[in-house]
Structures are given as C-alpha cells and as structure tokens.
Symmetry: none
Subunit: 232 residues, 2 copies
DNA sequence: GGGCAAATTTAACAAAACGTTAACATCGGA
DNA sequence: TCCGATGTTAACGTTTTGTTAAATTTGCCC
C-alpha cells in the first residue's frame, strides 16, 4: 500500500513458523496478514492486495507451485518462497514460475527481513516506471544508452553476448535467476539446456569485471539454482 | 569546400518554378535535386537522402499532403511547403502533418533562402543536441559551420560522404551506434543493408584521421554492434 | 553533351572477433 | 570419498570486420 506500512501476506500452514513470522514482521515496519492454505491465500491477495507474499511451498490443499502459477497470470506482487532443505527441484520450479527469491528452512529472521527489503525495493523501482538509463553498484557502472560498461571508472569492452548477459542480470539486479530463465531470455527458448554456454560466458564476465574472479563480488552463483548480480 | 554542400530536393510539377529554384538554389551554396511527382520524390528521398525538401502542395499524381504524411512515418528531414495564394486550409494541414515552414506563391528568392537557412540550422541543432559549432577531442577538430576537419591543426580533405559520416558520429560522440542506424541516417533508409559501404568509408576515415589506423583512437568499432566516436 | 577527376560502389580476399565445444579441474555436499 | 555441479582453458569453425583495388557513377568544366 502506498500509505502506511507495507503489508506482507504469509501463506503458511505450520503454526510455529507463523508465530515466528508474525512476531518478526508484524511489529513495526510491516503490516502482517496470514493465510493457512493456498485457497485462503488467493482470497486474501485479491481482497487485501498485499505488497509482498511469503509463500511456503509445502502446503496441504493446493500445491504452492500451482498457487504461484495461477497468481502470476494476473499479478506481479513479489513472492518470496520458503522451502524445506533438500527440495532443490521445487525451489527451481518456483523461481521459474515467477518467484522472486527463496529461503531454505530453517532461516534466520535477519536474512528474511533483508530479502523482503530487497524485493520491495525492486518492486518500487519497477513501478517507478521509467527504466533507469544507468545501473550503478559499487564501482560497476552500466550505461544502457551508450552501451558502455565501467569498472572503477575505466571502460570495459564486452562482446555482444557478454553485454546481453550482463544487462539482463543488471535489470534483475539482486534477484535470483535460474539458469533456465537466463538461457531462455538471453540466448532464446531453444537454448534452455545449454548450461555450458552460461558457465563459459559467466566466467568471461567475471574475468573482465571482478577484481578477484575466484571470489566474485557481484556475479555470484546460487549453487544448484542459478546466478545473481548483487547490487550494492 | 572540402566536404560537400547541403542538398535540397525540390518536388514541383511546374517547369517554370523549377527553373527559378534551380537557378536560385543550385548555384553555389546548395546541391539541387528535383522530382516532378510525389512518387518520384519518394524514391529520390530514400536514395539521395537530401538535407531538406521544398514541396509544392499542388502535385498531379498524389496530394502533396499525402506525401508529407507518408514521409513523416520514417523521416524527419525538414520540409518547406509551397502553396498557392488563398489555400490557407492546406497550409495549416501541411504544418499539422509535419511541415517545418511554408511559403505562399509568388515568393521572393531571398525569402526562400532565408527560410531554408533557418530550417537547416534548426535541423542541425536538433541533431547536435546542443548547438555547438565545433567538435573537439584530442587533436581532432570539426568545424560544423565551415565544414572543415582538422587533425593536429592541419586541415584534412574529406569527401562529402566521409564528412557526413564523421559529423554524424561526432554529433553522437561517445555513444555506440548500430550499423543500421548509421546507414539509415547517413546514406538513407534504402541503404540499411549496405554494411560494406560503411566498412569501406570507415576505413577511409581512419586512414585520413587516425595516427595508427590499425589501432584507432577515435573511430572505434563495437564488434557485433556498430561503431562509436570516442570523445576525450 | 563530352571528357576528366573525384567520389562512390563492388568484388575478392585477409584478418580478427566471437560463440561454441570438448576435455579436464575444482568445489562442496552427502 | 564419491558424485554432481560449477569453473577453467584452449581449440575449432563461423561470422563479422578490415583491406585493397578495380569498376562504375557522379560532379563539373568546357
């Protein structure tokens, strides 16, 4: 909501986790809403119009994934997904279905709050409408108009593919992107299986942009999932 | 004049008026081009890419107004319209359709020349952004008013095409321009596929301007994309 | 309008950049 | 310690860009 505090809808069947989240979120910065099932979640979303959703993938009635897919047909509300450890497949499927970020249980409240802040910030920028003509984070700078990339003020020369890949990551800065998503959007739908392309080009980008390519500061890999361009 | 004069396309069916304009325009300051019909005018525009158009509204085949509307879908070339006395309605419609100025017949040559100068100046300003009369970067200097180019203070002779290409790059200095963009704006819309023209002329420009043409300092290529004139 | 010089357009070929691929190394979790 | 996922490197083939010179067109003076 534009006025007052942002509202966060938690869709979660486990009472213990709900209790923790209610305490952690509802106190001062956010308005806390909750739903115990996907069905209930759907009505909550359409009647309360929350600013962000925290969704547990292991729901009793309807699969959380199914809920997400349905939601994405008509809404772009940011969704942070909670998964049980080891359910890597579900996590990736959720991201591919339009989730913005994920957290593996058990998680710390501090981390969840940080990810909520990041997602809300990205969402606000998206709504700001005008696509920023430059991206800046630390000493990495991308000028989309001039098609130039700088590290510490010095221009870096990128190939067409490298530039495409980097700008794609930058436009979704801070967000986890699955390998499939990246390949689909940067190379094209026919290339979703070509993970090697991504590895090689990511390596080249790190080589050109990172001070220490072995310890990347911006182009971080989310093992088992994909990559993320860290912002600031 | 080392770099060619602005070219003006006159679209006019009346032979007498054409004769007057040819004498008045074609003599020294401008290159005179002509077309007798709107159809002919369209091909002239797309193949010769003139700097300005003088258009008679009373054409035999297609209405001059119609021509103007079609033209404005793909080109911003300044157009000065000629109307017969009393056809006020047409005049207004022409301005609404994208004409830059108008003149009522009969008109004096002096007035037409003044309006042409004004329109060309406005057009140059539009393209240059700021109305800078000179471009300077390192020891490369372009005087847009005198149409002269200097390297380390010594004047360099450029062909008309070379000059057009260089000034186009200079007016977008620092920005990467795709081959298509350059071809469309420098050669004309009919030439967007003629990449070879661009390669050859770029080579000639480098030969004339760069200290080491193999390691260009200003006229850099953005592989897979296009070219860019680096500024300081 | 003919003829000359300059400019542009072609064509053929060379060089460089790029994407793709394979083979192998390394890392991190079970 | 094993295995899958990710990182690294170099080579290959293709596409893009550069180079040169010749053919054609254009502008222009007479």
């Amino acid at each position: 909501m534009t006025a007052g505090r942002p509202s966060i809808l938690v869709i979660e069947d486990d009472a213990e986790i709900r209790r923790v989240l209610k305490v952690g979120l509802g106190h001062k910065d956010y308005r806390y809403l909750e739903a115990l099932t996907a069905r209930e979640g759907t009505t909550e979303v359409s009647t309360r119009n929350p600013d962000l959703i925290v969704l547990d993938l292991g729901l009793p009635d309807l699969d959380g994934l199914q809920f997400l897919k349905e939601l994405r047909k008509w809404s772009k509300i940011p969704v942070i997904v909670l998964t049980a450890r080891g359910k890597e497949k579900d996590k990736i499927k959720a991201l591919d279905s339009g989730a913005d970020d994920y957290l593996t249980k058990p998680f710390g409240m501090g981390e969840l709050l940080a990810r909520i802040r990041a997602a809300l910030r990205r969402s606000a920028e998206r709504h700001g409408g005008d696509a920023e003509p430059v991206f800046e984070s630390g000493d990495l700078k991308i000028d989309f108009v001039r098609r130039q990339v700088f590290v510490k003020g010095a221009e870096v020369r990128l190939s067409p593919m490298e530039y495409r890949l980097l700008t794609y990551l930058a436009r979704h800065a801070g967000q986890v992107l699955t390998q499939k998503q990246i390949l689909k959007d940067v190379w094209g739908a026919a290339y979703v299986e070509k993970n090697l392309y991504l590895r090689v080009h990511m390596h080249q980008l790190r080589h050109k942009l990172e001070a220490d390519p072995a310890q990347p500061r911006w182009l971080v890999t989310e093992s088992g999932v994909g990559y993320r361009l860290r912002s600031e």
